[in-house]
Amino acid sequence: MDFLALFRKIGFKSAKFVKLTGFKSSPYTEGALFYAEKPRVVQEKDVVRSQEDALKAYAEFHGLTFGPGVLDLKTKYLIALGASLAAGCDP
């Protein structure tokens, strides 16, 4: 019976035969050590990490938009609120 083939078929990763254990239970059989892992689910923080540059650029854009300028902060927020309502943004 091939543990490694089964592991891969089922979806385990990092599956490996590590070594024989020296326990010879008969002239034909021996103990063996196998290791495998269930893959991690991709989590939000993994997505965030992979999008770090884009998110950094967006944060900078956001900061500059709402930073000091010709319009005051209250006016900028009201414009932003109006735009989001018109676009139908879901909070």
């Binding site: 543990f3 385990f12 254990t21 103990g31």
Partner: protein, 204 residues
């Protein structure tokens, strides 16, 4: 390797496994195996002395594994561990020491007498409060999905009739990122034809 077994053959094998390990549980492992087990077996397989130094000899001598699953990696503090085919429970008790009071260990075995033996061994180690044992089948694990950080098994999967089903179950109850650490028997030489009888040889 695929084996075509009739329903009758499978039933015979299942009963044979239960009968054999019931006998082992009652008589002690020395009755039925040809290889070093017990305290000597644990020493040969490199079980860490400081983990088992307070285990009574009677507990150590009930060990009949084919390797040391913990040599594949430690159990970390606080982890939930499942031992599939736990037998008299020695590996589960070692895991309980490693995971500590914040973790927990469940030992599962298809033979009721082995579970009783494991509970008796646990009774001899009153400091361990994070272990439990129950009867159950590797092919149909009585646990929810994504339950355990670690699954260990020592000499049990070779007895399973449907290994793919049993390993799928292990996958199901492991948490994402969880680890499977198995010691089991493999064929290292071809069986001579007269020994290749499927039923009698299944759990020899």
């Amino acid at each position: 390797m695929t084996l075509d077994l009739t329903e009758q053959e499978m039933a015979l094998i299942r009963q044979g496994i239960k009968d054999k390990y019931t006998q082992v549980a009652a008589a002690g492992s020395g009755c039925c195996f040809q290889y070093p087990i017990g305290e000597e077996g644990m020493r040969l397989q490199g079980y860490l002395k400081d983990l088992i130094q307070d285990f009574p000899k009677t507990v150590l001598d009930s060990f009949c594994g084919v390797g040391n699953p913990f040599s594949l990696g430690p159990v970390r503090e606080g982890e939930a561990v499942l031992d599939i085919g736990c037998g008299a429970g020695v590996d589960a008790l070692v895991a309980a020491k490693m995971t500590g009071p914040k973790g927990r260990v469940v030992g599962l075995d298809v033979t009721a007498e082995m579970v009783q033996r494991a509970r008796a061994n646990l009774f001899r180690l009153p400091s361990l409060t994070n272990v439990s044992f129950q009867v159950g089948d590797a092919e149909s694990l009585p646990f929810p999905d994504d339950e355990f950080e670690v699954i260990i098994s020592n000499g049990a999967y070779n007895l399973a009739l449907n290994k793919e089903k049993a390993l799928k179950e292990a996958y199901r109850v492991l948490k994402p990122g969880g680890r499977l650490m198995i010691a089991d028997m493999v064929l290292v030489a071809a069986l001579p034809p007269e020994q290749a009888g499927k039923v009698a040889n299944w759990y020899q």
